[in-house]
């Protein structure tokens, strides 16, 4: 039974260049990701990484373990804390249950300070 199995973790180092590249790749050019003064005026600590950039790396961690992105049926998370250039986020998870729909994974994302960046993170993967 795979319940309790842990999935291999993945890390991403947040950089300004990486955030800019993600803005171009995703089309989300909200200035809170690109313009330092705009971000601070909006009450943020500076430019922040897209939540979806982090969810993308989370999806990679699940995909690698599951045997490909096509085996992911559901994926969800809450973006609980900002991620800024200089942060390193680690993603991982474990199998929490098995139903006829598939394997249920509980997932997490934590930064270098041990703060949870992603919460309520879960996936359903084909068996």
């Amino acid at each position: 039974m795979p319940v309790g199995d842990e999935i291999p973790t993945r890390e991403v180092e947040i950089t300004e260049a990486g955030i800019r590249a993600y803005a171009e790749a995703s089309g989300d050019r909200n200035l809170i990701h690109l313009d330092e003064i705009y971000a601070r005026t909006a009450g943020l600590p500076g430019i922040i990484a897209h939540g979806m950039l982090q969810m993308g790396v989370l999806a990679e961690a699940v995909s690698d373990w599951a045997g490909g992105p096509g085996r992911i049926r559901k994926l969800r998370c809450r973006f609980a804390a900002t991620a800024v250039p200089g942060d390193t986020i680690r993603f991982g998870g474990q199998v929490a249950g098995e139903t006829e729909s598939g394997l249920e994974l509980e997932l997490w994302g934590v930064n270098q300070k041990g703060e949870r960046v992603l919460t309520k993170a879960a996936a359903l993967v084909d068996r």
């Binding site: 089309g27 989300d28 909200n30 200035l31 809170i32 705009y38 005026t41 909006a42 009450g43 897209h50 939540g51 979806m52 969810m55 992105p69 096509g70 992911i72 049926r73 559901k74 994926l75 969800r76 998370c77 809450r78 973006f79 309520k120």
Partner: protein
Amino acid sequence: MPQLFADPDARIDLAMLVHAEQEFEWTRHPVVGETIVARARIADDQMRRGLRLLTLETRCTVGGEPLCVSRMLSVIRAR
């Protein structure tokens, strides 16, 4: 998504918006060469403790057949 957020009727202040939650549910995954049609609707829009909680639900289809449903929760702070 840019069409919604730029729509003046939606009254979304992008500087004050943070992406709070996201979920995807795939019927199947797309294949290279397919054209995906995405239709979004505002599933929920409410004020709670001075914050605007906006839920956008997007249904993606290929040739009219379901591909994926996604939900995005955005939290928009007041200036």
